[in-house]
């Protein structure tokens, strides 16, 4: 063979050899890329010598951030994320590179422009590239679901705590209730005897002086008050079974108003009714609802007695069917199904032109024995009983002061199902 052909053959072999090595390297590179893209962890690499531009961005990093490899490679954090986030990343990156030490960030919240808010656990370390460049390697694990589980667990344990407290409270009330019922029953008879005694003195004394008459009157009033408290205690402790049937609220509203008519006349209170519920029915125990209404009306009448000008004492009872705008606060009394936001309800409002409720007392108004009335004028049990009755019906009771003075008490009761098509008033 000549020298020329030897050289050509050598060159051909060398080229084939180089080709084979290149193919092998390419194959290895592809293999490495495949590994990186199939990792369940997000991998990225920034060139610290070139403005921390991204030089590596694997598939999982694409998935987590919603930013593609093509969009990321050659760009910086400030071009891909918010300026606040970019600043945060840069600070950490520089810290890692300058200290030469790796860093684990157990939890960081990232806001990706495409995916929204996610939680990551990130590991960053300084490495040297194949050509000697200073690189920052980052590995991230998406722990969003883990964080959400943790929050849910936290919420659940808070709920359990709250339920436990409510249960304890309910048990306390239950035993107070039982005690109250027992006391009430025992006290009734002595009260009955006192009443009979006072009445006997009234009739047996011939020509009693005014003082004697007053004393006897006071005794009778005291017995009546005692009896009211006993009644309140019995009510408070005995609310259990309701006899519910769909009924037009007008029936028990009218009865309740009839019951307090004498009181209204005595106190010069004008009552006005405006029923706009168009015959919609609500499933209630009408005797209990009547009791609630009598209670609320009586409260209003007592409040109105504080209004000096008798002509200004007015009471308005209105009804309508509407959609519940706000759900009732969590009261823990889950004996029935409560009304929910968006439910059709019959809304009954009692508005008075009295002095309104002291604002600092609005939150405790339903506590048993809370009362703003002077001693002798009310037991303080009425509102807590009323609330309990409404809660047992799955309804809602709200109290607020009117802007122009006076108070509004609003009851919301679920419309009985067959009447859900009743037109809703605004």
């Amino acid at each position: 063979m000549e020298d020329g052909s030897k050289t050509q053959a050598f060159r051909r072999d060398a080229e084939r050899g180089i080709e084979a090595v290149v193919q092998r390297l390419r194959g290895q590179e592809k293999f490495t890329d495949t590994i990186l893209d199939n990792l369940p962890l997000a991998l990225f690499c920034k060139n610290a010598d070139d403005g921390y531009r991204f030089v590596l961005w694997n598939k999982r990093q694409e998935d987590i951030t919603g930013i593609t490899r093509e969009e990321a490679i050659g760009h910086t954090d400030s071009e891909l994320f918010s300026s606040q986030a970019a600043k945060y990343f840069r600070e950490i990156d520089e810290g890692v590179i300058n200290s030469g030490r790796s860093l684990e960030i157990p939890e960081e919240k990232i806001s990706s422009p495409t995916v929204g808010k996610i939680w990551l656990r990130t590991f960053k370390c300084p490495i040297t590239g194949p050509d000697g460049t200073q690189l920052l390697l980052g590995v991230s694990e998406d722990i969003t679901s883990h964080i959400k589980d943790r929050e849910r667990l936290h919420r659940t344990s808070k709920e359990i705590e709250s339920l436990e407290l409510q249960l304890i409270q309910a048990e306390k009330l239950e035993s107070i209730g039982r005690l109250a019922a027992g006391v009430a029953h025992e006290v009734k008879n002595p009260l009955a005897c006192l009443m009979l005694g006072a009445q006997y003195l009234e009739r047996a004394l011939e020509d009693p002086s005014d003082d004697v008459k007053n004393v006897i009157e006071e005794m009778k009033n005291a017995v009546a008050r005692g009896e009211q408290i006993v009644r309140g205690l019995v009510d408070f402790s005995s609310l259990r079974q309701l006899q519910v049937e769909p009924i037009d609220p007008q029936t028990w509203l009218d009865r309740a108003i009839g019951f307090v008519r004498h009181e209204c006349i005595r106190a010069s209170v004008r009552i006005r009714c405006d029923y706009q519920h168009q015959g919609a029915l609500a499933a209630v125990d009408s005797a209990k609802m009547e009791q609630v209404l009598v209670n609320l009306l009586t409260n209003s009448i007592h409040a109105l007695e504080l209004v000096e000008d008798r002509a200004d004492r007015s009471l308005e009872v209105t009804t309508c069917v509407c959609e519940l705008v706000e759900a009732p606060p969590d009261e823990g009394d889950r004996s029935g199904e409560r009304v929910r936001k968006g439910d059709h309800v019959v809304r009954i409002e009692i508005r008075d032109s009295g002095p309104g409720f002291p604002p600092d007392k609005l939150s405790v108004i339903f506590d048993p024995f809370f009362t703003t009335k002077p001693t002798g004028k009310g037991t303080g049990l009425g509102m807590s009983v009323a609330r309990k009755i409404i809660a047992l019906h799955g309804g809602m009771i709200e109290i607020r002061n009117r802007k122009r003075g006076g108070a509004v008490v609003a009851l919301s009761l679920k419309v009985a199902t067959e009447f859900e098509d009743t037109p809703v008033s605004s």
Binding site: A192, C193, L196, Q199, Y200, A204, E227, Q228, F259
Partner: protein
């Protein structure tokens, strides 16, 4: 003036009702505190009207009334029930509630209401 048989387990209560009803000789009242002795007391006293507490230990007012109804000499005597289960504030003021055929008065008892109930129910039975 009427012969009234009063049946209630509380002695203090019956003493006071008796004192009120017999004031000025208005009525002749015989009180019984043991419901088990009510039947014999009724048969010997021959009342024109009976005032009967509903809840009593040993035998409640309903059972006592049933026993009276079984005896021909007692069957037509009007009965007024008293009960601590209803409060005066649960009844519209000034009215006498009914429990079926019988008037039902809440405790604590208003003596004026009791006297009115006696008057009205005596009259109606005497009118028959």
């Amino acid at each position: 003036m009427a012969k009234v048989l009063l049946i209630d387990d509380e002695e203090g209560f019956t003493n006071l009702v008796k004192a009120n009803l017999s004031l000025g000789g208005k009525h002749e009242v015989h009180a019984v505190n043991d419901p088990l002795q009510a039947l014999d007391a009724a048969l010997s006293f021959e009342p024109e009207i009976i005032i009967l507490d509903l809840i009593m230990p040993g035998m409640d007012g309903g059972d006592v009334a049933a026993r009276f109804r079984e005896k021909p000499e007692l069957a037509d005597i009007p009965i007024i029930f008293l009960t601590a289960l209803v409060s005066p504030s649960e009844v519209a003021p000034g009215t006498v509630a009914q429990s079926g055929d019988y008037p039902l008065l809440p405790k604590p008892v208003d003596i004026n209401l009791l006297e009115r109930a006696i008057k009205e129910n005596l009259r109606s039975s005497q009118g028959e």
